[in-house]
């Protein structure tokens, strides 16, 4: 006969023994359901055509059709090109500016916490609001940028309306959005540099420039690489700002990968083709990740 107290103890014992399992289980289960299962579904979707009739979906197995759609998608190659250009240019700019800021502010004596505090603002603002804000600022007639250009005597520019500038505008907004993030990571790394090593370099005879290039930067390389790879892969996710700013236009001049996926899925309603694209995108991102890790491994042990 077990008393209520003994039963309680028994339950507690059981919970303790299985803690390691049920601690991890909810996360694993939820994650598997919400990410693993959909990915498996993606593969199924990629070889099917999905239509909605009378509010119900019907699946037809059509392995070749989505391929044809892909090959026939005239927007695909500009989108891929745009995305690569975007990632390359935006991330490079963000890294350079972020690094410069981290080094410059790291060398300051006061004002560092003020800098850090203000830098987190762009990270916290909803990307949609950022897109919305800059859409107004890029406005051809009354926008901030054209106002400034007007003050120095340059004719108003169609930032969002001209094919040649649309992508650039998107890049600029992305740089504004993410430089603070890079700054925060690199600034933390700069602050974490061993002070005595830098002093040793000073005593050993290094000029400011030599200290920077031969000690500080080499010591920052691990953090820089992490920030770079992280940001670069994340850059492929960009959606909110582009959606707001240009919607991909004019034409496809500023359409990025995520936006294209959106259009295929929800404007063209091509769920099967969209799934195929998704599969390729995921594979591409994972491949990028594997390559990045392989490269950094090689670098670290050279």
């Amino acid at each position: 006969m077990t008393t209520p107290a003994a039963r309680r103890r028994g339950i507690v014992e059981a919970l303790n023994r299985s803690f390691r399992h049920w601690g991890l289980l909810p996360a694993v289960v939820l994650f598997a359901l919400l990410t693993g299962y959909p990915i498996v579904n993606l593969l199924r979707m990629a070889v099917s055509t999905i239509e909605f009739r009378d509010g119900r979906e019907s699946w037809t197995f059509t392995p070749g059709r989505n391929w044809e759609l892909l090959l026939a998608d005239s927007a695909l190659s500009p989108v891929v090109r745009n995305t690569l250009v975007f990632v390359l240019v935006a991330v490079t700019l963000e890294m350079l500016i972020g690094l410069a800021l981290a080094l410059a502010i790291g060398a300051m004596e006061r004002g560092k916490s003020l800098a850090r505090a203000l830098m987190i603002l762009p990270i916290l603002v909803p990307p949609v609001a950022i897109g919305s804000m800059f859409k107004l600022m890029f406005n051809h007639d009354f926008g901030f940028f054209n106002q400034i250009l007007g003050w120095i005597g340059i004719a108003p520019v169609s930032w969002l309306g001209s094919p040649s500038l649309a992508l650039l505008s998107v890049i600029l907004v992305d740089v504004w959005h993410w430089v603070p993030f890079i700054f925060l990571i690199l600034f933390a790394a700069v602050e974490g540099l061993p002070r005595e090593v830098l002093e040793a370099a000073q005593v050993d005879g290094a000029t400011r420039s030599q200290q920077l290039w031969r000690v500080t930067l080499p010591l920052l390389v691990p953090a820089i690489v992490v920030a770079l790879v992280f940001r670069a892969v994340l850059a492929f996710k960009t959606f909110d700002e582009v959606f707001l700013l240009t919607g991909g236009g004019p034409g496809t001049s500023s359409e990025l990968l995520s936006l294209h996926l959106y259009k295929v899925f929800f404007e063209q309603n091509q769920l099967g083709y969209g799934a195929l694209l998704s599969v390729f995108t995921i594979a591409g991102v994972l491949a990028l990740l594997v390559i990045a890790r392989w490269v950094t491994r090689r670098w670290a042990t050279r």
Binding site: E196, V197, Q202, V215, L219
Partner: protein, 365 residues
């Protein structure tokens, strides 16, 4: 090689003055140790010499040249840091040759110098290793090698042995000392360990609270400490201090000054004359000058017996505090056993309790 001259140096952080009136002359080729407790200012002074801290007042000159306004790299000094501060991204060879490569010395010359220095410090096998792959003692030697390669005017050491274990510390002490003898380099060495100071210094500089208390050769400072602080700081186990007041000479054939301790015990002070009665005094006596002597004036039960192998120290709880006496190595004493101690008269030191300064004995023996 050069002499270092420190005159009327002051240091303040903001409004707070932490150091004032520091004067010190380090001769060319001398090994000077700055020793003191944490916070006494020794590291700050060293860093001012290196140029890593600004000099708030006074002047520091190296080789006769004023360096107050010079950047560290212009002063031609080398520093060995407490944490070694090796360049993590360079191997040992790279660390040793870093300063030379900064001056754009030709690679073959750098290589030759590195090899040479590595030989001296027994690092030749480790030239291709990185700091993270080295032990504490090896890193320490690389840090020294880095300094030696530069052949600077002055070597500065900032507590380089603090992070090593006891045995290694003792081994490195002698290594640094023999290196100094070989290179004859002007060296300023900072430590909080008075044993290091005693064993390594040509001259010791005992610092306290931003001031220099005493400068002198180790034995001189040991035998004739200028202040009570120095007497207490130098020497292990610590010197025994008994507080009391001077008393007029007792009646008798030879009038001899006496010390009445705070617990009422009378100690004779034959070496001093003319002490004002009632003056607060601290009598200090090193353990080796306090002997177990039946009938001695200081009595109490044995508290702890420490046998170190070559020596044995006996701690006795007397009414005037716990006193430490050096005893015969094989002595058989148990805690609790009552004993009496007597100080060796010649070796007793007297300090004015208020000023902390030592009183000179009137009779020279």
């Amino acid at each position: 090689m050069a002499a270092v001259s420190i005159s009327r140096v002051e240091k303040s952080f903001g409004q707070t003055s932490v150091m004032k009136g520091i004067d010190l002359e380090v001769a060319d080729g001398e090994f000077v140790v700055l020793v003191g407790a944490s916070g006494c200012g020794k590291s700050t002074l060293l860093r001012m010499i290196a140029g890593l801290e600004a000099i708030s007042g006074g002047e520091i000159a190296i080789g006769g040249q004023r360096v107050n306004e010079m950047e560290p790299r212009e002063r031609d000094v080398a520093m060995v840091f407490q944490s070694y501060a090796l360049y993590p991204h360079l191997d040992v060879r790279g660390n040793l040759g870093f300063s030379l490569s900064l001056r754009r010395t030709a690679p073959p010359a750098i290589e030759a110098k590195c090899r040479q220095t590595a030989e001296v410090l027994d690092l030749s096998q480790l030239l291709d290793r990185f700091p993270r792959q080295l032990s504490g003692g090896q890193r320490q030697r690389v840090a020294m090698g880095r300094a030696i390669v530069r052949q600077p005017k002055v070597f500065l050491f900032d507590e380089p042995l603090s992070n090593l274990d006891a045995k290694l510390r003792i081994a490195m002490r002698t290594e640094i000392r023999s290196l100094h003898q070989r290179l004859g380099a002007t060296s300023i060495y900072v430590t909080h360990d008075q044993v290091e100071a005693m064993t390594m210094a040509d001259r010791m500089v005992v610092m306290n609270d931003g001031r220099i208390e005493q400068v002198g050769a180790p034995l001189e400072v040991y035998d004739r400490p200028d202040t009570l602080h120095v007497a207490r700081f130098i020497g292990a186990p610590s010197i025994n201090v008994i507080e009391g007041r001077a008393a007029g000479p007792a009646g008798g054939p030879v009038p001899v000054a006496r010390l009445i301790t705070n617990s009422g015990i009378e100690l004779e002070l034959p070496a001093w004359r003319g002490l004002r009665s009632g003056r607060a005094l601290s009598a200090a006596c090193r353990p080796e000058h306090l002997q177990l002597h039946p009938g001695g004036p200081l009595r109490g039960p044995v508290s702890v017996v420490e046998r170190l192998g070559h020596e044995t120290y006996v701690y006795v709880d007397t009414p005037d505090g716990r006193l430490c006496a050096l005893a015969d190595r094989n002595i058989d004493l148990r805690p609790g056993r009552p004993v009496s101690l007597a100080p060796v008269q010649d070796a007793m030191l007297l300090f004015d309790t208020e000023t902390g300064r030592r009183l000179e004995a009137e009779i020279n023996r």
